[in-house]
Every structure is written in C-alpha cells, then in structure tokens.
Amino acid sequence: MTLVELEGLTCGYQDRVVLADLNLRLDEGQRLGLAGHTGSGKTTLLKAIMGLVTPTGGVVRILGSECRQNGDFTQARRVLGYLFQNSDDQLFCPTVLEDVAFGPLNLGASQAEARAVALECLSMVGLCGFEERLTHRLSGGEKRLTSLAGVLAMRPKALLLDEPTTGLDPESKARVAEVLRGLDLALLVVSHEWDFLTQVTNRYFTLSHGHLHEAAEAPHLHHHVHSLGDLPHSHD
C-alpha cells in the first residue's frame, strides 16, 4: 500500500524555490534515506508531507487521498509520525510519561489506555524508569528517544525523521539506529550522515536544487581527498 505520494510538489519561500516539481513515493515497509546540504529543502519536504507548510504547486496524497487543506491532514497525521530536528520543540509536557501519552490522549484513548501505550513505547526505546523524569533535564540522547517514544505512541504506519542524530554522541546515535532497525514501519529519514542512513534505510536519495536524485548504488563510507568525498558518486 502506498502511504505517501508526492506529485510535482513545488514549495518556496518568497521568491526562492526550495522544492521544484518533486515526485516521491513511500510504500508500506519501505525505508528511504534522504541526504542533502543544509538549506537544500529536506525539512521543507517533510513539513509539506505533514501539511505544516503549504506547497505552491503539486499534489500530496496520504493513503491515496489528496490532502490540500489543514483539515485533510488531520487523518494523515495519525498515520505518519514526524520526529522534529530539535527535540525541545517536541517535548512540551513537563514529565516523560505525560509527554509520551500526549498523542494517544488526543486520539481519544482513555487515561488507562494512554498510560499503558506510553509505558509500552518507553520500554520499546529502552527508557523504563524515566516515567516521572522532567523532560527539560534529560540528556540529548534521552530527549531524542523520548520524542521517538511519543511519536511511536500514535501507532503510525510510517515515520518521518528529520536529522534524528543531530547533536548526539556516538553511543546515543547507535541506540537510535538500533531502535529504528527494530521497528516494522516505513521510514523516510533525512540526515546528512551517510553512515547513519546506511544503517537504518535501504534506498537513498539526495536533494539538490529542489530535485530528488536516487543514488544508483548503495553508498558506503570511505575516505577521499577529492571534492566529492562526502557525496554519493561512482568511479566509472
């Protein structure tokens, strides 16, 4: 089943075009990685899928139905979990358990159900015992995992992750990767870290000048002295 379909999506701010006539499909169980330079429009792409920015052209389809206005996206947001780049934006409740339970409570779960789902999701990301901890006193890695638990608590079919490893130490990065690998969900991961993308996704795209390009071969980390060292390329 196709979860997300973008057709000719065009987005821009004032007179700057960020995404130009972009097409993308995310099917159930697919794991797509997306890389690109800062300011290339990766976050705008994810926000357009979630209906948080209004495209200037093109079509966004979630589960086959076209989404144009804010109301159309309400249903879509139940299916798609979006992990923000900055965890502090996403953790708005004072304690960890309240925060993870925020989504289920909004979706109509009873207090007991929401509590059970929240506890289950905290256990999935390995944060048992953190229930009553204050969100603003967590470390960067703990904040990211709590945000992920909060998104998972909505029982989404796909996750859109915006730079999930930014600002994390190698240990926390490995933990996030481990949790993501263990999920049976479709993923669209935006990151500028190719090694992380190769760990959690299996198809790779780059975004430059508003266009998506699929990498022909699986990228791998290697050391280079030439200018394309950190971009996917071939040597034929």
Binding site: M50, L52, D88, L122, V125, G126, C128
Partner: protein, 248 residues
C-alpha cells in the same frame, strides 16, 4: 532493550483536596481583620507543613525572600497610615496603627505562604494541571501553566546565551544609555526566538493530534484521607470566622 515498563500508583493525598483546602483556608485568612484570626492562620500554616515532607532549607530560603518584601511594608506602611506617632522623621510620622497594620499583613502573608508550601508546593506540574483541569479551570490556563513550567528553563538558557554572546563582544552591564539599548535588543531577540519556538512547538503539537484541549493522564483518586483533610480545613475556616466575630 529492557522489558515492559511498569508504573506504581501515586500515593498520598488527591491534588484536588490539597488545592481546594489551600484555596478555602487562604481566602479565610486573607479577608480576616483581627489578630486572633491571623494567628490562627499562622497555626494552620504550621500544621500544613506536616503535609510537605522535608525540604526545610528550601522553605527557609523562600520564607526569607517573602519576608524581605514584608520588611519593606513594615518600613513604609506606618508612614502612610495616620495615628499615634511612635517616632517622627521630619514631617513624616511613623505611627503605631500603621506598624500594627503592617505586622498584621506580615502574619497573614506568612500564613498564606505556609499553607501553600504545605498543600500545593509538593504537587508536580502534571498533577497540578490534572487537578486544575478536573476542578473546571479552563483548558487554556492549564495548558499555559504546563507549557510555562516546561519552557521557562529553555527561555532562561536562551537569555544566558544571548547575554554571554554580548559579553564576549565587550558588552558590560550597566545603566548607560548604550547598555539599556543593548538590553532592549537582547529582550527583543528573546521574544523573536520565543515566537519562532512557539510556532515550532505548535506544529509538533498538531502532528500529535492536538486540538486545543488539555488532556492529562489524570490518576486522581479521592480517598477517605482527602475527606478528612477537607473536614479539617472547613473546621479551620469556621474557627477563623468565629475568632473574627468574637473580636469584632
């Protein structure tokens, strides 16, 4: 990954009983005019401290801070109230009636502070939010309380960052026109960033199904001990009323 998480039930008093009793006692103490009623209020405050476990150091610091404000009142109110002069400062008279009024206000203020410290201070923000919501306080106010608690710290860090950045570029705090101008700019920047932040937070809330309503995990349970606290608070309010009438 670890096993299934479990959470224990919240022990102790229901936050609603704490809030209602604090509200009732504070209003009774705040409106009383007689000394016996104010002293009874101080007694209630001391009794309420039994419901807040420990943290005596923090209590002493806060109490000192509150009483700095009251010292200001004791120094100024007697100058503004007419009556029997205790001493004269030029054309101003420091009156006995004014002093007694300021001391009465200090006693009542301390009583209210102690009642709040004993009954409301131990409540965690989510429990306070749940209780306020359950007592019919509008969703918007509960949300503002919850978000303020969460983001106050972030705002403080942002402000510290801005001030540090300014200091590293030679800014020295002071009262010059330029220093005030810089403070103005920093404050404006703080508000701008707070606005950006609030937009991002709102987007994150929308993505998780937020529709403007305050929902919490609740976990409130009214037990016999809450009823007992309520009865004790009612008895206290009646006692204040009786003392007030007796000295009228």
């Amino acid at each position: 990954m670890s096993g299934q998480c479990a959470q224990e039930a919240q022990p102790g008093l229901d936050p609603r009983s704490r809030l209602l009793c604090a509200l009732g006692l504070c209003v009774a103490v705040a409106v009383c005019r007689s000394w016996p009623a104010a002293l009874a209020g101080l007694g209630f405050g001391a009794a309420c401290l039994a419901l807040n476990s420990g943290r005596w150091g923090a209590l002493a610091r806060r109490l000192a801070l509150v009483n700095v404000f009251f010292l200001g009142l004791i120094a100024t109110v007697p100058l503004a109230v007419p009556g029997d002069p205790l001493l004269r400062l030029g054309s101003l008279a420091f009156t006995r009636e004014g002093l007694m009024l300021a001391l009465h206000m200090t006693a009542k203020g301390n009583a209210i502070f102690l009642i709040f410290w004993g009954l409301v201070q131990p409540l965690s923000p989510p429990r306070l939010g749940s209780a306020l919501s359950a007592l019919g306080v509008p969703d918007k106010l509960c949300l503002i309380l919850s978000l303020t608690f969460r983001y106050l710290d972030l705002m403080r860090h942002e402000w510290d960052r801005l001030v540090t950045a300014a200091r590293l570029r030679g800014f020295t705090p002071g009262t010059s026109r330029r220093a005030w101008g810089t403070y103005g700019l920093l404050l404006a920047l703080l508000f701008m960033r707070a606005m950006d932040k609030s937009a991002a937070i709102h987007q994150a809330m929308i993505c998780r199904g937020f529709d403007g309503r305050f929902r919490s995990l609740g976990g409130l349970r009214w037990r016999a001990v809450d009823t007992a606290l309520g009865v004790a608070a009612c008895a206290g309010i009646v006692l204040v009323a009786v003392l007030e009438r007796g000295s009228a």
